[in-house]
């Protein structure tokens, strides 16, 4: 039994990008269905973030300075056209949202308050994301968006090479449903392999896997290796932002090792910081600590990460009194990672009718090879969410109400086939192994061709185990099964692209090719052709301005 819902635009994923896309599409006057495996609005990583949203502001910032700084940081893999469009568009959207009552902090003069961050030139407006996202969800509901919470989307339905909608099942009731629509927006976040870090526990690359399965292209996948910093003893993430206001990193000898290398602690990108930490440990100067005794504005720390403060208060930990051990926090193809689904300037993927937004769309178009810029993730979700919503609504309107078709035959049986099977390990165990393997710094941070291939072999074995042996004991476990399968797909794409990029550039570092090679100044794409993942260049971003594909 399959429930069929007909609409114009179906949005998969209810984080900042997805809810914004749904609202924007509904404002354009089309019917919209929004799906989320948890609860749209508070789902994903945005709601748990510190609300720092990169935002260039005309009159206060030089556009040329910003574009130049990001082109330099992108090391040849980002585009002037994209940067200009992103900075200007993001500001217009923020201004409009503020006028509609979305919460942004202001200074004493009533202007947008902003803070600095890690990266080339970072100024972020500040939005309390829990409140922001509740308002976003309410706006969707008032515009008539049909919201299906606890719905695990599994695949994009295709009919004669065109998207027909999305299929999945209810996590609570197991009801299989097909949401038919000519326009599909994928906004499921990135892939942190369900990493054990604050706010990164739920993103497993479902959107990237669905897009790849539908014939769309992924890009910048070798940069699906984002690292931030976590306190070693707590499930936290993002402590590196505390260095902006006076925090420092110390090695086991008490030396401020970044200063020693000529860096300012808050200027390095996440992956540069992680690499420096590894080098200290490698040289026998570990553990690594964060020292906040020189932190200038302690109140800011509470504002920036209120949940972290609450957690530490409960644990009886005073971050400012004692130095705390920190570790690199691997968040993979999530957060400030450039990796994701290839999109053009209208958020169209390489398959007509499928759009992508947020962390699952490749933000490398604006960050290039730089991994770990503060505030870019929220800004990208906000910008591409609105872009995708507008474009998908226009595409659906062009379809003229013609309903998408699909073959429902055996859909229910096909989607739930792992349910009740009990031949191997639980999917959560496989996902845990995968996450640990990908988080290894000698796999994702300081790479070599041999180790990448070795890990690819393990990933292949785990995929076989999952698909042929592993079963799901209940509906929740079935959702984990699909998350594991998606994460395996993202891992394969990431590792294959990392093998192919035989040079070091930005956040991708190869011990066997430690220098940048000008011949590799192009973006690598990953596509699935006849079931085989193929890695190949998708052109010089600076020339094409992003996009390409069949649209």
């Amino acid at each position: 039994m399959v429930t069929v819902i007909e609409t114009d635009v179906v949005v998969v994923g209810g984080g900042l990008a997805g809810v914004s896309a749904a609202r924007q599409a509904a404002e354009s006057g089309v019917r919209v269905v929004l799906l989320d495996k948890a609860r749209a609005g508070t789902s994903g990583t945005a709601a748990f973030s510190a609300g720092e949203m990169l935002c260039w502001i005309p009159g206060r910032d030089s556009l040329e300075d910003w574009v130049q700084a990001y082109l330099e940081a992108g090391e040849g893999l980002n585009s002037r056209a994209w940067l200009t469009m992103f900075f200007e568009g993001q500001y217009r959207i923020v201004e409009r949202l503020a006028s509609q009552g979305f919460p942004f902090l202001t200074d004493a003069s009533g202007n947008f308050a902003r803070r600095s961050g890690r990266g080339p030139l970072v100024r972020c407006v500040l939005a309390p994301m829990m409140t922001f996202q509740e308002k976003n969800r309410q706006a969707c509901a008032s515009l008539g968006v049909k919201i299906l919470d606890r719905f695990c989307a599994v695949e994009v339905l295709m009919h004669r090479g065109e998207p027909a909608g999305v299929a999945g099942f209810g996590v609570r009731d197991g009801e299989v449903a097909a949401v038919l629509a000519p326009s599909v927006i994928i906004s499921t976040g990135g892939c942190s392999y369900r990493g054990p870090f604050f706010g990164q526990d739920a993103v497993a690359g479902e959107g990237m896997a669905m897009a790849l399965g539908a014939g769309a292209r992924l890009a910048y996948m070798e940069y699906g290796n984002n690292y931030d910093v976590s306190l070693a003893r707590f499930d936290t993430c993002g402590e590196s932002r505390l260095t902006i206001h006076g925090g420092r990193y110390l090695n086991g000898l008490g030396q401020a090792f970044l200063e020693k290398e000529g860096f300012q602690d808050h200027r390095v990108s996440g992956n540069e910081l992680a690499r420096a930490m590894v080098e200290e440990v490698r040289a026998g100067r570990g553990c690594i600590y964060i020292d906040l005794s020189g932190f200038k504005e302690r109140r800011l720390a509470d504002e920036l990460t209120p949940n972290l403060k609450m957690a530490l208060d409960r644990g009886g930990v005073n971050l400012f009194a004692d130095r705390q051990e920190v570790i690199p926090a691997f968040t993979g193809a999530s957060n400030a990672s450039p990796a994701g689904i290839w999109i053009d300037r209208k958020a169209r993927t390489s398959v007509a009718g499928i759009f992508a937004a947020g962390d699952c769309a490749c933000k490398g178009l604006v960050t290039g090879a730089c991994v770990g810029i503060t505030g870019v993730s929220l800004a990208w979700a906000n910008y591409t969410g609105h872009l995708a919503g507008k474009s998908a609504a226009a595409y659906a309107a062009e379809a003229g109400g013609q309903q998408a078709r699909f073959e429902a035959e055996d859909l229910a049986g096909r989607l739930v086939y792992p349910l009740g099977r009990n031949l191997g390990r639980r999917p959560g165990e496989i996902l845990r192994d995968l996450g640990e393997e990908m988080a290894r710094v000698d796999v994702s941070l300081i790479r070599s061709g041999a180790r990448l291939v070795d890990t690819l072999g393990r990933v292949s074995t785990w995929r076989w185990e999952l698909e042929n042996l592993s079963g799901a004991k209940d509906l929740h476990d079935l959702m984990i099964w699909y998350e594991a399968r998606s994460a395996l797909t993202v891992a394969e794409a990431t590792l294959l692209a990392a093998v192919e990029r035989r040079e070091s550039r930005g956040g991708h570092y190869r011990e066997d090719y430690p220098s940048m090679n000008p011949e590799f100044q192009y973006v690598l794409g990953v596509e699935e052709i006849n079931g085989v993942k193929c890695v190949r260049p998708v052109g010089e971003v600076g020339v094409t301005g992003g996009g390409g594909g069949r649209n």
Binding site: P196, G199, A202, V278, V281, R314, I327, D442, I446
Partner: protein, 67 residues
């Protein structure tokens, strides 16, 4: 995400591994019955791998060492 479910004697945490550490249940519980601790709940594995064969980098914390 879907971690609190009805149990025989009241709500129970069915899927501990799904806790996103957002502390919302703790914040919004009207009777203060929920307490979420920030302590890392499972090991991270050999994070530094072959760059730290003796494990001096400190990343291979085990729950037993933490609690």
């Amino acid at each position: 995400m879907d971690v609190l479910r009805p149990g025989g004697t009241g709500p129970v945490i069915s899927y501990r591994e799904d806790c996103q550490s957002c502390f919302l249940c703790f914040l919004e519980c009207p009777t203060g019955a929920i307490r979420v601790t920030p302590w890392r709940s499972f090991p991270l594995g050999k994070l530094y791998g072959r760059f730290d064969p003796e494990g001096k980098g400190g990343a291979d914390l085990r729950p037993a060492e933490i609690f």
